[in-house]
Symmetry: C2
Subunit: 346 residues, 2 copies
């Protein structure tokens, strides 16, 4: 992790309800079996082909990428990559034959030999579906100039899991929904979204826990529609949820009980000496709500977003020069938060 | 409740561990049956006799007393008297035939027709066993000049409950024992104290709950020893407990977990918009600990003691000009605390 400003340290559009946007394309090389059946030798060849397709390309896009074989990283470094959303949790489970190409601000990464041979991923701060999809498409085109992607005229892109067949695209927005959560509206939302071909999950995708009222909304249908249609659906549904959240916040924050929770959260974060990751995220969620509702002032969303990533257990350890046990992490986390929230005011 | 400074708004000796001292004498008039058997007419006579014995006395002591028939007070005012320790909880259960004489700073009160005809009570801030006992004795002497107390040469003062027979004196110190509580030492202490003829109870005596780590230590033996001996025993045992508490605090506050709790407590009290009485007392206990341990600064014990009384539910209501429901009290309590703790610093 170098010191340049990362994508998550910036502010994006609709930042009060949308933390980030992600577009991910699944691609496979026609002449190789899917990753699960590929030999070590074949995986090495795939790695080499993808790497050179990107790094030897003529596009300015390719200049700023680092090639990182997963086996070169220790466990803390790998887990920090997951916390920063550069790679998926599944990707690091077995590092053999896996590598990632990642650009300087970490907004673009290409996982090699994940479930599919390539997972092209583009992230952006706030709600930026159009821009992130365009960047992903440009990378797809660039790589497609050299690589022969498995594509069927009938089915579209071929992927290891049939749920990705077709456009091979999964787009998602990370929504901050404290008010819909507090008012108990989420269960209804979960049910209705699955009927619309959308999924709502925890911050780290499938099977992950919802922490700090952060929900990942993503498209589930990839077959029988175009990328543009899938993006339009996601955009329209996320707009509706954002609208509901805005109304719920107005209602919620007019009550003393929610105000009390927001002010207490800031009070605790400004004074605690020990903070677990989960408690910290729950309290920062209330602070985020307080900032959007005008109860709190003096901290911008860029700083808040950056904090939410840097305070993750492994990223905290990776950025420190000494190994940290849980108690040491909780202490360091509290120190970092106190300093970051010094400027916050009622 | 008038506006003069009350005894509990002052600082006393050994204030870091002892909030207050109380000495209470039980006396009965020889020519009347005990309160539980006295008729309304007899109770009225007792009231009149005690009142005139005090108020028509020549002592300067008698000048500043108010005579308050319990039936003149509404429920909130009566319950506030209990919260301020002017009367016992039992005293207000049935107001008929009861009255209290109370001086301006509320350090001296005489309950009339409680369990005994007279309960002379003197309170002081901090550890002041000698001074409070002297004041109680002076009052006893003054009243004894006019009133004929039931006294048996063999048994001493006669009281309705045999546990008060003899000297009829109950002395107590209100100890703040957060460290002995946190380290789990209290159970051992409870057991050993009862063997020594001492009782350790919640803030409001027998059957009351321990809130905010406040314990009332009192002598249980009144028969077969002099007042001076009883006071010396209590003093010696409270000194030992204070010493144990001091050691436990040093140990406790050297740990990050206790420091975290102290700083969080101050953070919450400085920011909350809703505070229940019990949560408030628990958090103020931690703030008190933080002030004694040098973690917190900028609030004196006089202000803290005053706050602990004024924030009690009925005293809060009694001091307010409008009737308050629980939510309104919790809001007002939070506002009062925020303002009082504005000066507090790490």
């Amino acid at each position: 992790m170098n010191n340049s400003v990362k994508w998550y340290e910036k502010e994006g559009p609709v930042r009060e309800e949308v933390v980030s946007t992600r577009v991910r394309l699944a691609r496979n090389l026609r002449q190789y079996p899917f990753s699960c059946r590929a030999t070590a030798q074949q995986k090495a060849e795939i790695e080499e082909k993808v790497k050179s397709a990107l790094l030897s390309g003529n596009s300015i896009l390719s200049r700023e990428f680092r090639f990182v074989p997963l086996e070169d990283l220790n466990e803390i470094q790998s887990m920090s990559l997951v916390e920063r959303h550069v790679v998926s949790p599944e990707f690091i489970a077995d590092p053999r034959g896996k590598a990632v190409l990642v650009n300087e601000d970490e907004s673009v990464s290409i996982m090699i030999n994940e479930e599919d041979h390539l997972r092209i991923q583009v992230m952006g701060s706030g709600l930026t579906l159009k821009e992130t999809a365009e960047t992903a498409d440009r990378l797809d085109t660039l790589l497609g100039e050299t690589l022969d992607f498995a594509f069927d005229p009938q089915l579209g892109y071929l992927t290891q899991c049939p749920t990705n067949l077709g456009i091979g695209m999964r787009a998602s927005v990370m929504l901050h929904l404290p008010a819909l959560t507090a008012t108990g509206a989420m269960n209804r939302l979960f049910a209705s979204l699955s009927k619309l071909g959308m999924a709502l999950r925890g911050s780290y995708g499938e099977g992950s826990k919802v922490v700090g009222d952060m929900y990942q909304l993503s498209n589930q249908i990839t077959l029988g529609l175009s990328e543009a249609e899938a993006l339009a659906n996601l955009s329209s549904i996320s707009d509706q949820i954002i609208e509901q959240e805005r109304k719920a916040r107005q209602q919620l924050l007019s009550g003393l009980s929610a105000q009390d929770k927001v002010f207490r959260a800031a009070g605790v974060l400004k004074s605690a000496r020990l903070l677990s990751s989960e408690e910290c995220m729950e309290l920062l969620s209330l602070v985020r709500l307080g900032l959007t509702g005008g109860l709190l002032h003096g901290l911008d969303f860029a700083a808040l977003n950056s904090l939410c990533v840097k305070l993750q257990p492994n990223t905290l350890s990776a950025n420190s020069n000494v190994p940290l046990d849980e108690a040491a992490r909780d202490t360091l986390r509290a120190t970092v938060v106190r300093s970051a929230l010094e400027t916050i005011k009622e």
